[in-house]
Amino acid sequence: MLQLNDVHTWYGSVHALRGVSLTVGEGEIVSLLGGNACGKSTTMKTILGWVKPRSGEVIFGGQRITGKRPPQIVDAGIAPVLERRRMFPQLTVRENLMMGAWRRRDTAGIAKDIDKMAEIFPVTASRAGQAAGTLSGGEQQMVAMARALMARPKLLIMDEPSMGLSPKFVRTIFDLIIELNRREGLSILVVEQNANMALSIASRGYVLQTGEVVIADTADALLNNPQMQKAYLGIA
């Protein structure tokens, strides 16, 4: 479904991605792991069309989307849940959801999806008229996911969904991700520092280091990989 082939992205004179290749299959959950400044965010921004790669290609659903602009990427069916949730703090929860559907014109379908979100994420209904900035971090994460789903994506990219949330809440979020994946056949790319958590739901994972994929394997193999255990899983 999503395929990156030897992608090189530069920020001015900084070579941020040094030939990244990865794939996310249809209905698959894949995690992209790595520490700070390893290129995780740049990979995401390259997929979303926020930065243009200097070489290499991004293919989505059989189409080359390299260098397309962000609105077209959303149209193609990729929606991100940004790091730290990034609510529109002074818009109501409902207005936030409506913004998620910005590229859609099917009023009836949007209304139906709002109801659907109310089912999956009850907070989007119970706090519909409240300014999103006044919600708790966990509630905001729910709204952020609902908002991204309002675009009816085929691929959801989640950037650090566990950041700043309690372990219990992280579990809730990840359970929801699994359920969405099963129910809707949604492909999900989870970009995470929390490797344990991310690998517990993913089928495969990639480890990025200074802009390069250093390990690519199944989730089980990664969890048992001694190099991984030492560097990312906190097992000596």
């Binding site: 979303l48 529109f88 002074q90 818009l91 913004m99």
Partner: protein
């Protein structure tokens, strides 16, 4: 007394419209424009030209100002500010000053330095027919100015609160990256916003041009300065603040003429604004922090 109040509110509604333009542009683009007074002047002249050469209709004059200044705003944003989005703030500030000089010079070239006025026979219908409200008589023109200003302000509020595009503009103001993630074309939003804010200035220009029936290339200088001050007093990023501050300054100015020589009216207006800022440095509706600033 009541008459003076109406005069003050009319004058103030113009300041409010102009200040609202500043506020909208600043609230979304995080940029102060010093060409706003000159956009105002362009709006006034567009109305003047259409009224004197095409058809003497105030509505048509306003439409002309709307179209001209909207396009002018869009043009300025696309030509200059889009390229300077990541540049330091003073760069775009300098560019706006450059625009103000260019626009003033253009007006000087086209219309000359002398003050123009609409011939009496064309405007007397508007300026001298009055209606009675209680004890006082108010001219149609004054009523139109006040009415149009209020209408535009109300429409602006409804637009931002309820329309799809208005919501997207607010969203972009609060977090433009998150807006981009939703597939919002952020560049287009910035252009539309700048055009929209400029248009508010243009409408203010045509209204005041007709109200005083005076048109000259530097007519926007003092007004632009006052409206900018009103926007600051209102809290810079607060729309209600801009309106309240604009109306207050208009009323204070008009009433001050009762007590001091009228040539001091600008001074009084600025002293008044200075006093407010001494008491509330963050502005009337400012929260100390920019309204619409990023939430995290």
């Amino acid at each position: 007394m009541f008459e003076q109040l109406i005069n003050g509110l009319t004058q103030g509604s113009i300041y409010a419209l102009l200040a609202l333009g500043f506020t909208i542009i600043f609230g979304v683009l995080r940029m102060v424009t010093f060409a706003h007074g000159e956009v105002f002047m362009v709006g006034a002249y567009s109305g003047f030209v259409v009224f004197t050469h095409l058809q003497d209709s105030l509505v048509l004059a306003i439409v002309a100002a709307v179209v001209t200044t909207f396009l002018l705003g869009a043009l300025m944003e696309i030509v200059a500010f889009r390229r300077l989005r990541d540049a330091p703030h003073f760069s775009s500030l300098l560019v706006t000053i450059g625009f103000s000089v260019v626009l003033t010079q253009l007006a000087l070239l086209i219309f000359g330095a002398e003050v123009e006025a609409i011939p009496m026979r064309q405007i007397e219908g508007l300026a001298f027919s009055e209606i009675r409200i209680g004890e006082v008589y108010v001219s149609y023109l004054q009523l139109s100015v006040l009415g149009v200003a209020i209408l535009i302000m109300a429409a602006t509020f409804l637009f931002f609160k309820y329309s799809r595009l208005g919501t997207a503009i607010r969203a972009t103001a609060q977090d433009h990256e998150a807006a981009m993630a939703m597939g919002v074309d952020v560049n287009r939003i910035f252009t539309v916003t700048f055009a929209f804010g400029s248009m508010m200035g243009g409408i203010a220009g045509v209204l005041i041009g007709f109200y005083y029936n005076l048109f000259y290339p530097t007519m926007g200088v003092m007004l632009g300065l006052k409206a900018f001050s009103a926007a600051v007093i209102g809290g810079l990023a607060s729309m209600p603040g801009a309106i309240v501050a604009g109306l207050m300054i208009g009323v204070v100015e008009v009433f001050s003429v009762d007590f001091v020589n009228s040539s001091f009216r600008h001074l009084i207006a600025f002293v008044f604004m200075f006093a407010i800022l001494l008491i509330r440095p963050q502005g009337l509706f400012g929260s100390g922090q920019l309204r619409g600033a990023r939430g995290d």
